[in-house]
């Protein structure tokens, strides 16, 4: 708990809490089980993406191909399941994870073996994945998805009639993904290696850290998360639309950076990434309920990210604007 105070996660949590209190007082509908569950149902997919992406950022890379990779996985898995006569949740999950992992490892291969800089590699695969998907499917959506995927799995229903609120499967899946990622990154030595690798790859190499394993883990994990997120998104919208997730990557990237990850690597946490997604979602939700025009959302979200990142960088900014910097001083 001591570490929470003053950390990025701690600050985000306090802001999120404050925002929730303000919105609860300012609007009638924010403070309701329905709104809360809706938020979780809708944001689970983004949080799963974010938890995947934060690992890549910690490892010092970047990937923008995960959202279209998720679309590819959706399409492939649903077609595959229809082909074998329907399938079930187990098969669906396994197929989505394997398929996502494969796409992630393809990025890792380009970056590690062919030495392509990660941003360039993923711009390439972003266009490759999405282009192939649109070309091969001719942009056609699938509306008749298998029954098991089509019927929303309810975890918890509270209230009745108009006030009924239901929490669906993606929230649970999200919780599992968050827990696994948190455990690996924060509680194992392997997690420290990932941070170390992101912080200084050459120092990690000299320490005997196997670079291929690090890259494979980071991009493979993001691919895995993208596969799961793709499946969950199809489950929530009950259809597969090839371009439904197109463009989501920058929203997720913004949220993860808001959550304390940096593009240089070595920094970021699972909790921060999840809180980043939630904070941006609550802001949008709040603006909506307050009746602010949706046209203003992007600008407001952009401003929040810039302000937040400035503040988390404060120890670097302070001396430049003439404030003495007591914390970073060597003693």
């Amino acid at each position: 708990m001591r570490r929470m105070v003053g950390s990025v996660e701690g600050i985000l949590f306090v802001i999120l809490l404050a925002l929730c209190v303000v919105l609860s007082l300012a609007t009638d509908s924010f403070f309701s089980m329905q709104n809360f569950f809706d938020l979780l149902n809708n944001q689970s997919v983004n949080i799963i993406f974010a938890v995947g992406l934060v690992v890549v950022l910690i490892a010092g890379g970047i990937d923008i191909s995960f959202s279209v990779a998720a679309s590819v996985v959706q399409y492939v898995v649903v077609v595959m399941m229809i082909q074998i006569g329907g399938g079930n949740w187990l098969l669906g999950f396994v197929a989505a994870m394997v398929c996502g992992l494969a796409l992630g490892l393809f990025n890792a291969f380009l970056i590690h073996k062919l030495r392509i800089v990660s941003i360039i590699a993923s711009i390439g695969t972003y266009n490759l994945f999405f282009g192939l998907l649109m070309y091969l499917t001719r942009g056609r959506s699938i509306y008749a998805i298998p029954d098991w995927l089509d019927e929303r799995v309810a975890l918890l229903t509270v209230g009745a009639d108009r006030a009924e609120a239901t929490l669906y499967l993606p929230a649970l899946v999200m919780l599992v993904v968050v827990s696994v990622a948190w455990f690996i990154l924060a509680r194992t030595g392997f997690g420290r290696l990932v941070y170390g690798f992101g912080s200084d790859p050459e120092a990690a190499r000299r320490s005997g850290v196997r670079i291929a394993v690090m890259q494979g883990f980071a991009y493979g994990w993001l691919g895995l998360c993208a596969g799961i997120a793709g499946l969950m998104q199809a489950h929530m919208v009950r259809e597969v639309v090839p371009n439904a997730l197109y463009g989501r990557e920058l929203d997720v990237l913004a949220a993860v950076v808001l959550g304390g990850a940096v593009l240089g690597g070595g920094r970021g946490t699972v909790l921060g990434a999840a809180l980043g997604v939630l904070l941006l979602a609550v802001v949008q939700n709040g603006l909506n309920l307050l009746g602010v025009t949706p046209y203003a959302f992007k600008a407001i979200v952009g401003a929040i990210i810039l302000i937040a990142v400035t503040f988390t960088n404060f120890d670097k900014v302070a001396p430049l604007i003439g404030l003495s910097n007591r914390k970073a001083r060597t003693t």
Partner: protein, 503 residues
């Protein structure tokens, strides 16, 4: 010590025919190197002679030219190893560039190797951190284990790198310039630990430019020059002068600055204060004067230099140049007012390593070079660069090569050149001889003396009492952010100065 005390000398490492080529440069030329079990073996040589390259070849970071052979203990010889294999054989290195992880906490940096060995051992952390704490106590240092490493200065990072290696189950430890930024007490603690490790049967290869330290700690010393081994000698009967001759290949004279009477005041500080860094600092620097500024790490010397160079803004006090108060809002202002600062971390902060020598030299004067037309001609840069290469006697085959193709001593000259090109009135040299060999050191002070003869004023920041004593006209000692002593070298012997600094 009689040979009988060790009836069987066990070999820890036998390296043969180790060569390494970078482009046209043969960095290692058929090197043979033997290391006995439990010995402290020093490796000395000028910058760029191949010491670090040899360490990298033995620890698996570089793949040597085919034909090399490494034999560890009684195992069969191998022609190359990977970093992971080197670790598995208990070979650990304190790298010259430290190779630490800025974003990890101090504690996790220290126990990082435990994670490499056992990435999924969950109970490891607490035990290892406990061990880290004990190692720090042995070394006589106290650092906050939870603090991210990036908040520490270079000297403290060096301590972290040392603690890290002391954590491991090592059989051979290479220490590449481990004491470069340490204070005297810390260095002595380290040398004590080196002796203890050696008594436990761990072989230590110690690289240092401080030849006195070298002879104090080792049993044998190997001298390298131009990628070759000059020879391996017992430490007994060896002296600093002889070592310096073997390293440079020519006789080396200890130089001292001749005292000159200072000219008119050029820089005056009047009650300068940056809270938390230094308080109420006042002094006057004259034309042609070398002002030695010393004190323990954390005494505020580097911070003071940063303030004079406009990198931090003082809360109170004045800076006067040629008698007129100036307001330095950034280092750009400082440069325009004739102040130049050569940082202590030259490799990272002083040069753009992958850029050419030409561009590195021109970077401080781009505005002048491109005025009045805004056109920056390659000829003007070349002229500037050639002028300084000549004046500083930099060894450069082609100025359009990246600066990292030069040896450390020559890189140092490029840093100096880029600042001298701004025609400063005041040149601040922060630890200019850290990690620099004897030959290059003498060259630096030759240049400095020439500059002062032309009227430039120099602030020389250094830890080395002998350096400050030999090369300053006046000495200021700082402690806890204040100037506590203002003296002249003639007032006292070098040893007394050393005692004053450490008091």
């Amino acid at each position: 010590m009689s040979v009988g005390a060790f009836p069987m000398t066990q070999m820890a490492l036998r390296a043969r025919a180790v060569s390494k080529r970078f482009g046209n440069v043969l960095a290692l030329d058929d090197v043979a190197f033997d290391l006995e079990r439990g010995e402290v073996h020093c490796l000395v040589g000028e910058n760029g002679c191949g010491k670090s390259t040899l360490i990298k070849a033995i620890s698996g970071v570089y793949v040597p030219t085919p034909g090399a052979s490494f034999q560890f203990g009684d195992d069969p010889p191998v022609s190359k190893i990977s970093p992971a294999e080197a670790k598995a054989r208990g070979i650990h290195v304190i790298w010259q560039d430290l190779s630490l992880f800025p974003d990890l906490s101090v504690g996790y940096n220290i126990i990082f190797d435990a994670f490499v060995e056992r990435p999924f051992a969950l109970s490891e952390r607490k035990v290892a951190l406990q061990r880290a704490r004990r190692t720090m106590e042995d070394l006589g240092v106290s650092l906050d284990l939870d603090m991210p490493l990036r908040h520490l200065g270079i000297a403290q990072r060096q301590l972290v790198a040392i603690c890290r290696v002391l954590q491991t189950e090592a059989s051979i430890i290479f220490m590449d310039e481990p004491t470069a930024s340490l204070t005297r007490t810390e260095t002595e603690n380290l040398l004590d630990i080196v002796r203890k490790l050696s008594a436990r049967g761990i072989s230590i290869v110690f690289v240092s430019h401080r030849l006195g330290e070298v002879l104090e700690v080792c049993s044998r010393v190997t001298v390298m020059r131009d990628g070759r081994i000059v020879g391996t000698f017992p430490a007994e009967g060896m002296n600093q002068k002889r070592l310096a001759e073997l390293m440079t290949g020519h006789e080396f004279l200890d130089s001292r600055r001749e005292w000159t009477s200072p000219g008119a005041p050029v820089l005056q500080l009047d009650g300068l204060t940056v809270p938390g860094q230094f308080q109420d600092v006042s002094f006057t620097l004259h034309r042609g004067e070398i002002l030695g500024l010393t004190g323990l790490l954390g005494s505020g010397r580097t911070e003071l230099a940063h303030a004079i160079f406009g990198m931090t803004r003082p809360e109170s006090g004045r800076i006067l140049i040629d008698g007129a108060p100036v307001s330095l809002r950034s280092n750009r202002d400082a440069i325009e007012n004739g102040i130049a600062y050569v940082s202590e971390d030259r490799l990272n902060l002083g040069l753009h390593q992958t850029q050419s020598i030409l561009k590195n030299t021109a970077i401080t004067t781009l505005r002048e070079l491109s005025s009045p037309s805004f056109y920056l001609g390659p000829e003007s840069i070349r002229t500037l660069c050639t002028e300084w290469i000549g004046r500083l006697r930099t060894k450069v085959s082609d100025p359009s090569l990246p600066v990292n193709s030069l040896s450390g001593g020559n890189q140092q000259r490029v840093v100096l050149a880029k600042w001298l090109a701004t025609r400063p009135k005041v040149l601040i040299l922060d630890s200019p001889t850290v990690g620099v060999d004897v030959g290059a050191k003498a060259e630096i002070f030759r240049i400095v003396n020439e500059l002062t003869a032309e009227g430039m004023a120099i602030i020389l920041i250094s830890d080395e009492a002998n350096e400050i004593h030999a090369h300053s006209d006046r000495i200021l000692i700082m402690r806890n952010g204040r100037i506590t002593k203002d003296l002249q070298p003639g007032d006292m012997a070098e040893e007394d100065l050393e005692a004053l600094i450490n008091a």
